[in-house]
Assembly symmetry: C3
Homo-oligomer: 139 residues x 3
């Protein structure tokens, strides 16, 4: 059994979904591993990860609208407001989605379903550079 | 360290919870692995996974009611409606729960708590066949 | 490749967040593993796990307030009420967050971002003792 680590950096331009399936797959395919487990981990608490449909782009647009409504800015509930009106909603959205995803690898590829894509889900208004750690164990 | 892969297929009959603890456990127990990590991965974006109480069946009924209210059908928020009124709520429900779960294995069994069961959480109205990938690493 | 298991017990004193980053890190640092994958698994369905900001304590206070409002006690939606008004909301909150987290290990430490802490998220009113399984695979 061998293991490999890598980090990818994702430049986000405001709230929404940024697909990283291709970049993770490219790294994986260069390692010569047939079976294993790929872990994707985002090193932030105001951006997160999700696996969602990557066929119709309206799906992730609608998801963004749903989360914006569920955790609105300027909610009088919040005490933590010094980092801006989008910061506390960002933490809520991150808590409701994933910081980490692990995906089985079979025949050298991630065992994703036909329509599954891996996304960084950005929760802040302004551009950010997001660090995503990849870890693969397999042989 | 060794690894094993398997896929189970779950026939769902509408929205709700379908327990797979027994099927995953049966596969595990035949492998002769004492310690390791079992990963469960659902290959869909309109069904998901969750670990929940499997003692009182009212718990998962109430969970279904909660998610149906939180992400109702026919919400005017959505643009993606061509796949039916239950499709976009399905993606929301999947985003709010899990696509993947990893469970430590100790003494040949999943280290689940007393009342924990692994469920496929179906988000669509009509029957579906859901593919769930299992991956075990251990020895 | 080697693997290690451990269990930590967290005494909670009502709803809220209990950080376990230090305790998990201490166990890890004693194992002499440089690269690997650490899995944290909570063996309950009315408490869960999350990775959140550990800089400003207002963040987790606001998260607690958000989840209390999203899944209020005494909601007439629920059938499962025999375990108390906080029990069914606890299952909802657990379903919306994580039962398991896996974190890559690099250079002997968890590859957490600067502000990331690992928390047990308690969803019940009364004190509980929560069992958290740790599993490490690496070398």
């Amino acid at each position: 059994m061998r293991q490999f680590s890598h980090e990818i950096s994702v430049a986000t331009r405001g709230k929404g979904f940024y697909e990283i399936t291709g970049e993770a797959g490219s790294w994986l395919s260069g390692l010569g591993i047939s079976e294993g487990l790929l872990t994707v981990f985002i090193r932030h608490t105001s951006a997160s990860l999700t696996i969602q449909e990557n066929a119709d782009p309206d799906v992730v647009c609608d998801l963004e609208k749903f989360f914006s409504r569920l955790a609105p800015e300027n909610d009088p509930l919040y005490t933590h407001t010094t980092e801006g009106p989008d910061d506390m909603p960002a933490h809520v959205r991150a808590a409701l989605t994933q910081t980490q995803l692990s995906i089985p690898v079979a025949r050298g590829r991630m065992a994703l379903g036909t329509w599954q894509g891996i996304y960084v889900f950005e929760h802040r208004r302004h551009p950010h550079r997001r660090q995503v750690a990849l870890h693969l164990m397999g042989e």
